[in-house]
Protein backbone atom coordinates (compact mmCIF):
# COMPACT_ATOMS: atom_id res chain seq x y z
CA UNK A 1 0.00 0.00 0.00
CA UNK A 2 1.24 3.49 -0.84
CA UNK A 3 1.67 5.94 2.02
CA UNK A 4 -1.09 8.46 2.66
CA UNK A 5 -2.08 11.09 5.16
CA UNK A 6 -5.44 10.88 6.89
CA UNK A 7 -8.05 13.21 8.31
CA UNK A 8 -11.56 12.76 9.62
CA UNK A 9 -13.58 15.97 9.26
CA UNK A 10 -16.58 16.52 11.51
CA UNK A 11 -18.83 18.11 8.91
CA UNK A 12 -19.44 18.02 5.16
CA UNK A 13 -18.13 21.55 4.63
CA UNK A 14 -14.72 20.65 6.03
CA UNK A 15 -14.69 17.46 3.97
CA UNK A 16 -15.38 19.42 0.78
CA UNK A 17 -12.39 21.66 1.54
CA UNK A 18 -10.15 18.74 2.44
CA UNK A 19 -10.84 16.88 -0.79
CA UNK A 20 -9.27 19.72 -2.81
CA UNK A 21 -5.83 18.48 -1.81
CA UNK A 22 -4.07 16.77 -4.78
CA UNK A 23 -4.40 12.99 -4.61
CA UNK A 24 -7.16 13.13 -1.98
CA UNK A 25 -9.99 10.61 -1.89
CA UNK A 26 -13.05 10.10 0.29
CA UNK A 27 -13.26 6.92 2.33
CA UNK A 28 -16.33 5.72 4.27
CA UNK A 29 -16.78 1.98 4.88
CA UNK A 30 -13.70 1.39 2.75
CA UNK A 31 -14.53 -2.25 2.04
CA UNK A 32 -13.64 -1.79 -1.62
CA UNK A 33 -11.27 1.19 -1.50
CA UNK A 34 -8.93 -0.23 1.15
CA UNK A 35 -8.84 -3.53 -0.73
CA UNK A 36 -7.87 -1.71 -3.94
CA UNK A 37 -5.24 0.29 -2.03
CA UNK A 38 -3.63 -2.94 -0.86
CA UNK A 39 -3.09 -4.04 -4.46
CA UNK A 40 -2.16 -0.46 -5.44
CA UNK A 41 -4.91 -0.07 -7.98
CA UNK A 42 -6.00 2.87 -5.87
CA UNK A 43 -3.15 5.08 -4.67
CA UNK A 44 -4.60 8.07 -2.83
CA UNK A 45 -2.03 10.24 -1.03
CA UNK A 46 -4.63 11.68 1.33
CA UNK A 47 -7.75 10.07 2.78
CA UNK A 48 -10.73 12.14 3.87
CA UNK A 49 -12.71 9.85 6.17
CA UNK A 50 -16.39 10.76 5.81
CA UNK A 51 -17.66 7.75 7.76
CA UNK A 52 -18.62 9.80 10.80
CA UNK A 53 -20.31 12.71 9.02
CA UNK A 54 -23.91 13.11 10.22
CA UNK A 55 -25.28 11.35 7.13
CA UNK A 56 -26.54 8.08 8.62
CA UNK A 57 -30.25 8.91 8.82
CA UNK A 58 -33.17 7.44 6.89
CA UNK A 59 -36.10 9.86 6.74
CA UNK A 60 -39.47 9.93 5.01
CA UNK A 61 -39.74 12.73 2.47
CA UNK A 62 -42.74 15.03 2.17
CA UNK A 63 -44.05 13.22 -0.89
CA UNK A 64 -43.94 9.79 0.76
CA UNK A 65 -40.55 8.70 -0.48
CA UNK A 66 -37.35 8.06 1.45
CA UNK A 67 -34.18 10.05 1.95
CA UNK A 68 -31.29 7.69 2.70
CA UNK A 69 -28.15 9.25 4.14
CA UNK A 70 -24.90 8.50 2.31
CA UNK A 71 -23.31 6.68 5.25
CA UNK A 72 -26.28 4.47 6.15
CA UNK A 73 -24.84 0.96 6.15
CA UNK A 74 -26.18 -1.74 3.86
CA UNK A 75 -27.30 -3.64 6.98
CA UNK A 76 -29.23 -0.70 8.40
CA UNK A 77 -30.84 0.10 5.06
CA UNK A 78 -32.01 -3.48 4.53
CA UNK A 79 -33.33 -3.63 8.12
CA UNK A 80 -35.19 -0.33 8.00
CA UNK A 81 -38.90 -0.88 8.63
CA UNK A 82 -40.06 1.45 5.83
CA UNK A 83 -37.69 -0.18 3.34
CA UNK A 84 -38.92 -3.64 4.29
CA UNK A 85 -42.58 -2.62 4.03
CA UNK A 86 -42.55 -0.34 0.98
CA UNK A 87 -39.39 -1.24 -0.95
CA UNK A 88 -38.92 -4.94 -0.12
CA UNK A 89 -37.19 -5.49 -3.46
CA UNK A 90 -34.43 -3.09 -2.34
CA UNK A 91 -34.06 -4.95 0.95
CA UNK A 92 -33.81 -8.23 -0.98
CA UNK A 93 -31.14 -6.81 -3.29
CA UNK A 94 -29.08 -5.59 -0.33
CA UNK A 95 -29.41 -8.85 1.60
CA UNK A 96 -28.30 -10.81 -1.45
CA UNK A 97 -25.08 -8.80 -1.69
CA UNK A 98 -21.78 -9.42 0.09
CA UNK A 99 -21.59 -10.96 3.60
CA UNK A 100 -22.98 -9.96 6.99
CA UNK A 101 -19.62 -8.49 7.98
CA UNK A 102 -19.33 -6.41 4.81
CA UNK A 103 -22.93 -5.17 4.92
CA UNK A 104 -22.29 -3.97 8.48
CA UNK A 105 -19.55 -1.71 7.17
CA UNK A 106 -20.36 -0.81 3.56
CA UNK A 107 -22.27 2.43 3.07
CA UNK A 108 -24.98 3.52 0.65
CA UNK A 109 -22.82 5.99 -1.27
CA UNK A 110 -19.82 3.69 -1.18
CA UNK A 111 -21.91 0.89 -2.64
CA UNK A 112 -22.80 3.12 -5.59
CA UNK A 113 -19.18 4.14 -6.13
CA UNK A 114 -17.55 0.74 -5.72
CA UNK A 115 -15.31 -0.30 -8.60
CA UNK A 116 -15.72 -3.23 -10.96
CA UNK A 117 -14.55 -6.68 -9.90
CA UNK A 118 -13.00 -7.36 -13.34
CA UNK A 119 -9.96 -9.46 -12.46
CA UNK A 120 -7.77 -7.65 -14.98
CA UNK A 121 -8.61 -4.34 -13.30
CA UNK A 122 -7.26 -5.80 -10.05
CA UNK A 123 -4.18 -7.38 -11.68
CA UNK A 124 -1.62 -4.61 -12.00
CA UNK A 125 0.59 -6.79 -14.22
CA UNK A 126 -2.06 -6.72 -16.99
CA UNK A 127 -3.14 -3.94 -19.34
CA UNK A 128 -6.44 -2.29 -18.36
CA UNK A 129 -7.88 0.88 -19.89
CA UNK A 130 -9.79 1.62 -16.73
CA UNK A 131 -6.62 1.53 -14.61
CA UNK A 132 -4.14 2.83 -17.19
CA UNK A 133 -5.95 4.64 -20.02
CA UNK A 134 -4.63 3.54 -23.41
CA UNK A 135 -2.98 0.36 -22.15
CA UNK A 136 -5.61 -1.93 -23.67
CA UNK A 137 -8.37 -4.24 -22.40
CA UNK A 138 -7.19 -7.65 -21.25
CA UNK A 139 -10.73 -8.98 -20.86
CA UNK A 140 -11.78 -8.36 -24.46
CA UNK A 141 -9.79 -11.35 -25.71
CA UNK A 142 -9.11 -12.89 -22.32
CA UNK A 143 -11.23 -14.80 -19.84
CA UNK A 144 -14.41 -12.76 -19.77
CA UNK A 145 -17.05 -14.91 -18.16
CA UNK A 146 -18.19 -12.23 -15.67
CA UNK A 147 -18.13 -9.38 -18.17
CA UNK A 148 -20.66 -7.11 -19.87
CA UNK A 149 -22.97 -8.01 -22.74
CA UNK A 150 -24.75 -4.64 -23.00
CA UNK A 151 -23.33 -1.16 -23.58
CA UNK A 152 -19.69 -2.28 -23.60
CA UNK A 153 -16.95 -0.97 -25.90
CA UNK A 154 -13.69 -2.24 -27.32
CA UNK A 155 -11.97 -0.22 -24.59
CA UNK A 156 -13.73 -1.91 -21.65
CA UNK A 157 -16.21 -4.72 -21.01
CA UNK A 158 -16.29 -4.44 -17.21
CA UNK A 159 -19.54 -4.56 -15.23
CA UNK A 160 -20.79 -2.57 -12.28
CA UNK A 161 -20.99 -5.05 -9.39
CA UNK A 162 -23.72 -3.57 -7.17
CA UNK A 163 -27.04 -5.21 -6.36
CA UNK A 164 -28.35 -2.23 -4.39
CA UNK A 165 -27.86 0.15 -7.31
CA UNK A 166 -29.87 -2.11 -9.63
CA UNK A 167 -32.83 -2.06 -7.25
CA UNK A 168 -32.56 1.71 -6.73
CA UNK A 169 -32.39 2.28 -10.49
CA UNK A 170 -35.71 0.46 -10.91
CA UNK A 171 -37.19 2.71 -8.20
CA UNK A 172 -36.08 5.84 -10.14
CA UNK A 173 -33.78 6.94 -7.32
CA UNK A 174 -31.83 10.18 -7.36
CA UNK A 175 -28.52 10.94 -5.66
CA UNK A 176 -27.99 14.19 -3.80
CA UNK A 177 -24.49 15.64 -3.93
CA UNK A 178 -22.47 18.61 -2.76
CA UNK A 179 -19.44 20.40 -4.11
CA UNK A 180 -17.41 23.13 -2.46
CA UNK A 181 -18.15 25.74 -5.13
CA UNK A 182 -21.47 24.82 -6.72
CA UNK A 183 -23.53 23.76 -3.71
CA UNK A 184 -25.85 20.79 -3.96
CA UNK A 185 -27.56 19.10 -6.89
CA UNK A 186 -29.58 15.99 -7.66
CA UNK A 187 -28.64 13.44 -10.29
CA UNK A 188 -30.86 10.60 -11.47
CA UNK A 189 -29.20 7.38 -10.42
CA UNK A 190 -29.77 6.08 -13.95
CA UNK A 191 -27.50 8.92 -15.14
CA UNK A 192 -24.84 8.65 -12.41
CA UNK A 193 -22.74 5.92 -14.00
CA UNK A 194 -21.33 6.26 -17.52
CA UNK A 195 -20.93 3.68 -20.22
CA UNK A 196 -17.25 2.96 -20.90
CA UNK A 197 -16.98 4.34 -24.44
CA UNK A 198 -13.36 5.35 -25.06
CA UNK A 199 -12.86 6.63 -21.49
CA UNK A 200 -13.66 3.74 -19.12
CA UNK A 201 -11.52 5.35 -16.41
CA UNK A 202 -14.31 7.93 -15.96
CA UNK A 203 -17.04 5.91 -14.31
CA UNK A 204 -19.53 8.53 -13.13
CA UNK A 205 -20.70 12.04 -14.01
CA UNK A 206 -19.54 13.32 -10.60
CA UNK A 207 -17.14 16.23 -10.62
CA UNK A 208 -13.80 15.99 -8.86
CA UNK A 209 -14.44 16.17 -5.11
CA UNK A 210 -18.23 15.97 -5.43
CA UNK A 211 -19.65 14.29 -2.32
CA UNK A 212 -22.75 12.10 -2.37
CA UNK A 213 -24.77 13.06 0.71
CA UNK A 214 -27.96 11.04 0.18
CA UNK A 215 -30.03 8.83 -2.09
CA UNK A 216 -33.68 9.80 -2.57
CA UNK A 217 -36.34 7.25 -3.42
CA UNK A 218 -39.66 8.40 -4.86
CA UNK A 219 -42.78 6.85 -3.30
CA UNK A 220 -42.93 3.15 -4.13
CA UNK A 221 -44.89 2.45 -7.33
CA UNK A 222 -48.09 0.40 -7.16
CA UNK A 223 -47.82 -3.32 -7.84
CA UNK A 224 -45.45 -6.17 -7.11
CA UNK A 225 -41.70 -6.10 -6.61
CA UNK A 226 -39.07 -8.79 -7.16
CA UNK A 227 -35.30 -9.09 -7.18
CA UNK A 228 -33.79 -12.18 -8.74
CA UNK A 229 -30.04 -12.82 -8.64
CA UNK A 230 -28.18 -15.62 -10.43
CA UNK A 231 -24.66 -16.42 -9.29
CA UNK A 232 -22.14 -19.25 -9.11
CA UNK A 233 -22.45 -19.58 -5.31
CA UNK A 234 -25.77 -19.45 -3.47
CA UNK A 235 -24.61 -16.76 -1.03
CA UNK A 236 -21.81 -14.19 -0.79
CA UNK A 237 -21.12 -13.88 -4.50
CA UNK A 238 -21.48 -11.25 -7.20
CA UNK A 239 -24.27 -11.55 -9.72
CA UNK A 240 -23.66 -13.16 -13.06
CA UNK A 241 -27.02 -11.62 -13.85
CA UNK A 242 -29.52 -9.92 -11.58
CA UNK A 243 -32.91 -8.39 -12.31
CA UNK A 244 -35.01 -5.89 -10.41
CA UNK A 245 -38.64 -6.02 -11.57
CA UNK A 246 -41.67 -3.89 -10.71
CA UNK A 247 -45.00 -4.90 -12.22
CA UNK A 248 -48.44 -3.37 -11.78
CA UNK A 249 -51.21 -5.59 -13.13
CA UNK A 250 -54.78 -4.30 -13.55
CA UNK A 251 -57.17 -7.22 -13.97
CA UNK A 252 -55.12 -9.43 -16.26
CA UNK A 253 -53.40 -6.59 -18.14
CA UNK A 254 -50.05 -5.00 -17.30
CA UNK A 255 -50.49 -1.32 -16.45
CA UNK A 256 -46.80 -0.54 -15.95
CA UNK A 257 -43.56 -2.47 -15.62
CA UNK A 258 -39.97 -1.57 -14.79
CA UNK A 259 -36.90 -3.68 -15.41
CA UNK A 260 -33.32 -3.05 -14.28
CA UNK A 261 -30.44 -5.47 -14.77
CA UNK A 262 -27.16 -6.01 -12.93
CA UNK A 263 -24.05 -7.91 -13.94
CA UNK A 264 -24.56 -7.17 -17.64
CA UNK A 265 -23.21 -3.65 -18.16
CA UNK A 266 -20.86 -0.91 -16.98
CA UNK A 267 -23.78 0.52 -15.04
CA UNK A 268 -27.13 -0.65 -13.69
CA UNK A 269 -29.04 -1.25 -16.92
CA UNK A 270 -32.59 -0.04 -17.34
CA UNK A 271 -34.52 -1.89 -20.10
CA UNK A 272 -36.89 0.94 -21.05
CA UNK A 273 -38.02 -0.46 -24.42
CA UNK A 274 -38.89 -3.80 -22.89
CA UNK A 275 -40.84 -1.98 -20.17
CA UNK A 276 -42.83 0.00 -22.75
CA UNK A 277 -43.63 -3.10 -24.78
CA UNK A 278 -45.25 -4.70 -21.72
CA UNK A 279 -47.82 -1.95 -21.20
CA UNK A 280 -51.33 -3.25 -21.97
CA UNK A 281 -50.17 -6.82 -22.57
CA UNK A 282 -51.70 -9.71 -20.64
CA UNK A 283 -49.62 -10.62 -17.59
CA UNK A 284 -48.56 -14.08 -18.73
CA UNK A 285 -45.50 -16.16 -19.47
CA UNK A 286 -45.43 -15.23 -23.15
CA UNK A 287 -45.40 -11.51 -22.45
CA UNK A 288 -42.70 -11.88 -19.81
CA UNK A 289 -40.55 -14.02 -22.12
CA UNK A 290 -40.94 -11.46 -24.90
CA UNK A 291 -39.86 -8.73 -22.49
CA UNK A 292 -36.79 -10.78 -21.58
CA UNK A 293 -35.87 -11.13 -25.24
CA UNK A 294 -36.49 -7.43 -25.85
CA UNK A 295 -34.32 -6.44 -22.89
CA UNK A 296 -31.39 -8.34 -24.37
CA UNK A 297 -32.06 -7.29 -27.97
CA UNK A 298 -28.84 -5.34 -28.41
CA UNK A 299 -26.66 -7.72 -26.40
CA UNK A 300 -23.29 -8.95 -27.60
CA UNK A 301 -21.22 -11.71 -26.01
CA UNK A 302 -17.41 -11.85 -25.91
CA UNK A 303 -16.93 -15.61 -25.75
CA UNK A 304 -16.98 -16.89 -22.21
CA UNK A 305 -19.90 -14.65 -21.28
CA UNK A 306 -22.13 -15.56 -24.25
CA UNK A 307 -24.31 -17.55 -21.84
CA UNK A 308 -25.31 -14.35 -20.06
CA UNK A 309 -27.56 -13.24 -22.93
CA UNK A 310 -29.96 -16.17 -22.67
CA UNK A 311 -29.57 -16.27 -18.89
CA UNK A 312 -30.46 -12.59 -18.51
CA UNK A 313 -33.41 -12.92 -20.89
CA UNK A 314 -34.84 -15.78 -18.84
CA UNK A 315 -34.08 -14.07 -15.55
CA UNK A 316 -36.02 -10.99 -16.68
CA UNK A 317 -38.99 -13.22 -17.54
CA UNK A 318 -38.81 -14.99 -14.17
CA UNK A 319 -38.42 -11.77 -12.19
CA UNK A 320 -41.42 -10.20 -13.93
CA UNK A 321 -43.49 -13.29 -13.13
CA UNK A 322 -42.27 -13.15 -9.51
CA UNK A 323 -43.29 -9.50 -9.24
CA UNK A 324 -46.74 -10.13 -10.77
CA UNK A 325 -47.26 -13.04 -8.37
CA UNK A 326 -46.12 -10.89 -5.45
CA UNK A 327 -48.78 -8.30 -6.29
CA UNK A 328 -51.50 -10.97 -6.19
CA UNK A 329 -50.15 -11.96 -2.74
Amino acid sequence: MRAFTYERPADAGTALQAIARPGAKYIAGGTNLLDLMKVEVETPSHLVDVSRLPLAQIDETENGGLQIGATVTNTDLAANRLVRERYPMLARALLNGASGQLRNQATTAGNLLQRTRCYYFYDTSKPCNKRIPGSGCSALNGYNRIHAVLGASDACIATHPSDMAVAMTAFDAEVETQTANRGSRRIKLADLHRLPGTTPQTETVLESGELITAVRLPPPPAGGQAYRKVRDRASYDFALVSVAALVDVDGDRIRTARIALGGVAHRPWRALEAEQALVGRPANTNAFAAAGAAAMGGARGYGHNDFKIALASRTVARALADAARQQKG
Partner: protein, 210 residues
Protein backbone atom coordinates in the same frame (compact mmCIF):
# COMPACT_ATOMS: atom_id res chain seq x y z
CA UNK B 1 3.31 12.29 -10.81
CA UNK B 2 6.42 12.98 -8.78
CA UNK B 3 9.95 11.86 -9.54
CA UNK B 4 9.83 9.56 -6.52
CA UNK B 5 6.71 7.92 -7.92
CA UNK B 6 8.34 7.34 -11.31
CA UNK B 7 11.55 5.98 -9.82
CA UNK B 8 9.74 3.82 -7.31
CA UNK B 9 7.58 2.27 -10.00
CA UNK B 10 10.50 1.67 -12.35
CA UNK B 11 12.67 0.14 -9.67
CA UNK B 12 9.96 -2.20 -8.51
CA UNK B 13 9.51 -3.49 -12.05
CA UNK B 14 13.25 -3.87 -12.52
CA UNK B 15 13.54 -6.03 -9.44
CA UNK B 16 10.59 -8.18 -10.38
CA UNK B 17 11.08 -8.66 -14.08
CA UNK B 18 14.53 -7.41 -15.04
CA UNK B 19 15.18 -4.51 -17.40
CA UNK B 20 14.24 -6.47 -20.53
CA UNK B 21 10.59 -6.64 -19.52
CA UNK B 22 10.26 -2.98 -18.74
CA UNK B 23 9.43 -1.63 -22.17
CA UNK B 24 6.32 -3.79 -22.55
CA UNK B 25 5.03 -3.37 -19.01
CA UNK B 26 2.35 -0.79 -18.37
CA UNK B 27 2.90 1.43 -15.35
CA UNK B 28 1.33 -0.12 -12.30
CA UNK B 29 -1.05 2.65 -11.43
CA UNK B 30 -2.69 5.76 -12.79
CA UNK B 31 -0.34 8.70 -13.49
CA UNK B 32 -2.19 11.12 -11.21
CA UNK B 33 -0.72 9.99 -7.94
CA UNK B 34 1.07 12.15 -5.44
CA UNK B 35 3.70 10.50 -3.26
CA UNK B 36 3.79 11.32 0.44
CA UNK B 37 6.04 10.13 3.24
CA UNK B 38 4.58 7.60 5.66
CA UNK B 39 3.11 9.58 8.54
CA UNK B 40 2.46 8.19 12.02
CA UNK B 41 -1.04 8.54 13.44
CA UNK B 42 -2.24 8.44 17.05
CA UNK B 43 -5.11 6.09 17.74
CA UNK B 44 -6.94 5.34 20.96
CA UNK B 45 -9.14 2.29 21.10
CA UNK B 46 -10.58 -0.04 23.68
CA UNK B 47 -9.72 -3.67 23.02
CA UNK B 48 -11.34 -6.36 25.14
CA UNK B 49 -12.11 -3.77 27.79
CA UNK B 50 -8.62 -2.26 27.97
CA UNK B 51 -7.88 1.19 26.61
CA UNK B 52 -4.82 1.42 24.34
CA UNK B 53 -3.17 4.57 23.03
CA UNK B 54 -1.13 3.63 20.01
CA UNK B 55 0.99 5.30 17.35
CA UNK B 56 1.57 3.66 14.02
CA UNK B 57 1.74 4.14 10.24
CA UNK B 58 -1.63 5.29 8.87
CA UNK B 59 -1.66 2.24 6.57
CA UNK B 60 -2.00 -0.17 9.51
CA UNK B 61 -5.19 -2.19 9.34
CA UNK B 62 -7.15 -3.05 12.46
CA UNK B 63 -6.08 -6.65 11.89
CA UNK B 64 -2.37 -5.78 11.87
CA UNK B 65 -2.82 -3.46 14.85
CA UNK B 66 -4.37 -6.28 16.87
CA UNK B 67 -1.83 -8.91 15.87
CA UNK B 68 1.41 -6.96 15.49
CA UNK B 69 0.98 -4.06 17.91
CA UNK B 70 -1.12 -5.62 20.68
CA UNK B 71 0.01 -9.23 20.32
CA UNK B 72 -3.55 -10.48 20.02
CA UNK B 73 -2.86 -13.22 17.49
CA UNK B 74 -6.15 -15.02 18.01
CA UNK B 75 -7.59 -12.94 15.18
CA UNK B 76 -6.32 -14.61 12.00
CA UNK B 77 -5.15 -13.24 8.68
CA UNK B 78 -6.59 -15.46 5.97
CA UNK B 79 -7.03 -13.68 2.66
CA UNK B 80 -6.50 -10.08 3.88
CA UNK B 81 -9.12 -9.03 1.29
CA UNK B 82 -12.40 -9.42 3.15
CA UNK B 83 -13.28 -12.67 1.42
CA UNK B 84 -12.69 -15.35 4.07
CA UNK B 85 -13.89 -13.93 7.40
CA UNK B 86 -10.96 -15.34 9.45
CA UNK B 87 -10.28 -11.83 10.82
CA UNK B 88 -13.85 -11.21 12.04
CA UNK B 89 -14.00 -9.11 15.23
CA UNK B 90 -16.71 -7.10 16.93
CA UNK B 91 -16.49 -3.31 16.51
CA UNK B 92 -18.90 -1.60 18.89
CA UNK B 93 -20.64 -4.98 19.13
CA UNK B 94 -21.01 -5.38 15.36
CA UNK B 95 -19.07 -7.99 13.39
CA UNK B 96 -16.64 -6.70 10.80
CA UNK B 97 -13.63 -7.90 8.83
CA UNK B 98 -10.63 -6.43 10.67
CA UNK B 99 -8.54 -6.62 7.49
CA UNK B 100 -10.77 -4.10 5.70
CA UNK B 101 -10.67 -1.51 8.48
CA UNK B 102 -7.93 1.05 8.83
CA UNK B 103 -6.96 1.10 12.49
CA UNK B 104 -6.92 4.90 12.42
CA UNK B 105 -10.58 4.86 11.40
CA UNK B 106 -11.32 2.80 14.55
CA UNK B 107 -10.16 5.62 16.80
CA UNK B 108 -12.38 5.75 19.88
CA UNK B 109 -14.15 2.46 19.07
CA UNK B 110 -14.62 -0.62 21.23
CA UNK B 111 -13.14 -3.79 19.78
CA UNK B 112 -13.76 -7.31 21.03
CA UNK B 113 -11.61 -10.17 19.71
CA UNK B 114 -11.69 -13.91 20.41
CA UNK B 115 -9.41 -13.25 23.43
CA UNK B 116 -12.09 -10.99 24.87
CA UNK B 117 -14.92 -13.50 24.56
CA UNK B 118 -13.53 -16.14 26.89
CA UNK B 119 -10.40 -17.94 28.06
CA UNK B 120 -9.20 -21.46 28.86
CA UNK B 121 -10.68 -21.29 32.34
CA UNK B 122 -13.98 -19.78 31.31
CA UNK B 123 -15.02 -20.42 27.72
CA UNK B 124 -17.67 -18.29 26.07
CA UNK B 125 -20.78 -20.45 25.45
CA UNK B 126 -20.10 -20.23 21.71
CA UNK B 127 -16.53 -21.48 22.23
CA UNK B 128 -17.79 -24.33 24.41
CA UNK B 129 -20.36 -25.28 21.75
CA UNK B 130 -17.69 -25.33 19.02
CA UNK B 131 -15.61 -27.69 21.19
CA UNK B 132 -18.60 -29.90 22.00
CA UNK B 133 -19.58 -30.24 18.32
CA UNK B 134 -16.10 -30.36 16.74
CA UNK B 135 -16.92 -27.19 14.84
CA UNK B 136 -13.47 -27.18 13.24
CA UNK B 137 -10.62 -29.31 11.98
CA UNK B 138 -7.48 -27.23 11.50
CA UNK B 139 -8.90 -24.40 13.62
CA UNK B 140 -7.52 -21.51 11.58
CA UNK B 141 -10.91 -20.01 10.70
CA UNK B 142 -12.38 -20.79 14.14
CA UNK B 143 -11.77 -17.51 16.00
CA UNK B 144 -13.40 -15.67 13.10
CA UNK B 145 -16.25 -18.18 12.97
CA UNK B 146 -16.90 -17.77 16.70
CA UNK B 147 -16.75 -13.96 16.69
CA UNK B 148 -18.96 -13.92 13.61
CA UNK B 149 -21.45 -16.32 15.21
CA UNK B 150 -21.67 -14.17 18.34
CA UNK B 151 -22.24 -11.05 16.23
CA UNK B 152 -24.70 -12.92 14.01
CA UNK B 153 -26.89 -14.07 16.91
CA UNK B 154 -26.95 -10.49 18.18
CA UNK B 155 -28.17 -9.41 14.73
CA UNK B 156 -30.98 -11.97 14.87
CA UNK B 157 -31.88 -10.71 18.33
CA UNK B 158 -32.06 -7.15 16.99
CA UNK B 159 -34.49 -8.35 14.31
CA UNK B 160 -32.18 -7.82 11.31
CA UNK B 161 -33.39 -9.82 8.29
CA UNK B 162 -31.26 -11.96 5.96
CA UNK B 163 -31.61 -13.28 2.42
CA UNK B 164 -33.03 -16.47 3.97
CA UNK B 165 -35.81 -14.58 5.73
CA UNK B 166 -39.13 -15.45 4.09
CA UNK B 167 -41.27 -12.56 5.28
CA UNK B 168 -39.39 -9.29 5.59
CA UNK B 169 -42.24 -7.54 7.38
CA UNK B 170 -42.08 -9.62 10.56
CA UNK B 171 -40.16 -8.03 13.42
CA UNK B 172 -38.69 -11.11 15.05
CA UNK B 173 -36.22 -13.38 13.26
CA UNK B 174 -35.99 -17.15 13.48
CA UNK B 175 -32.91 -19.02 14.61
CA UNK B 176 -32.94 -21.84 12.08
CA UNK B 177 -30.36 -23.77 10.08
CA UNK B 178 -31.12 -22.03 6.77
CA UNK B 179 -30.81 -18.63 8.44
CA UNK B 180 -27.51 -19.54 10.10
CA UNK B 181 -26.02 -20.91 6.89
CA UNK B 182 -26.95 -17.76 4.98
CA UNK B 183 -25.87 -15.36 7.71
CA UNK B 184 -22.51 -17.14 8.21
CA UNK B 185 -21.62 -17.20 4.49
CA UNK B 186 -18.91 -14.59 5.07
CA UNK B 187 -16.86 -17.13 7.03
CA UNK B 188 -15.17 -19.72 4.87
CA UNK B 189 -13.96 -23.01 6.36
CA UNK B 190 -11.46 -24.74 4.11
CA UNK B 191 -11.87 -27.96 6.11
CA UNK B 192 -15.63 -27.74 5.43
CA UNK B 193 -16.65 -28.22 9.06
CA UNK B 194 -19.89 -26.43 8.21
CA UNK B 195 -22.38 -29.04 9.53
CA UNK B 196 -20.71 -29.03 12.93
CA UNK B 197 -20.36 -25.24 12.94
CA UNK B 198 -24.11 -24.94 12.34
CA UNK B 199 -24.82 -27.48 15.10
CA UNK B 200 -22.58 -25.59 17.52
CA UNK B 201 -24.26 -22.27 16.78
CA UNK B 202 -27.73 -23.80 17.16
CA UNK B 203 -26.74 -25.18 20.55
CA UNK B 204 -25.21 -21.90 21.70
CA UNK B 205 -28.44 -20.19 20.63
CA UNK B 206 -30.42 -22.60 22.78
CA UNK B 207 -31.84 -24.57 19.86
CA UNK B 208 -31.64 -28.34 19.55
CA UNK B 209 -29.73 -29.15 16.32
CA UNK B 210 -32.21 -30.54 13.80
Amino acid sequence: MTRRGVLGTGMALTVLQGPGAMAKEPPRSAPTEVAVSPAPVDVGMTVNGTRHDLRFDARTTLLDALRDHLGLTGTKKGCDHGQCGACTVLVNGVRRNACLNLAVACDGQEIVTIEGLGNEQKLHPMQAAFVAHDGFQCGYCTPGQICSAVGMLAEIKRGLPSAATGDLTVASMQIAEAEIRERMSGNICRCAAYPNIVAAILEAAGKAPG
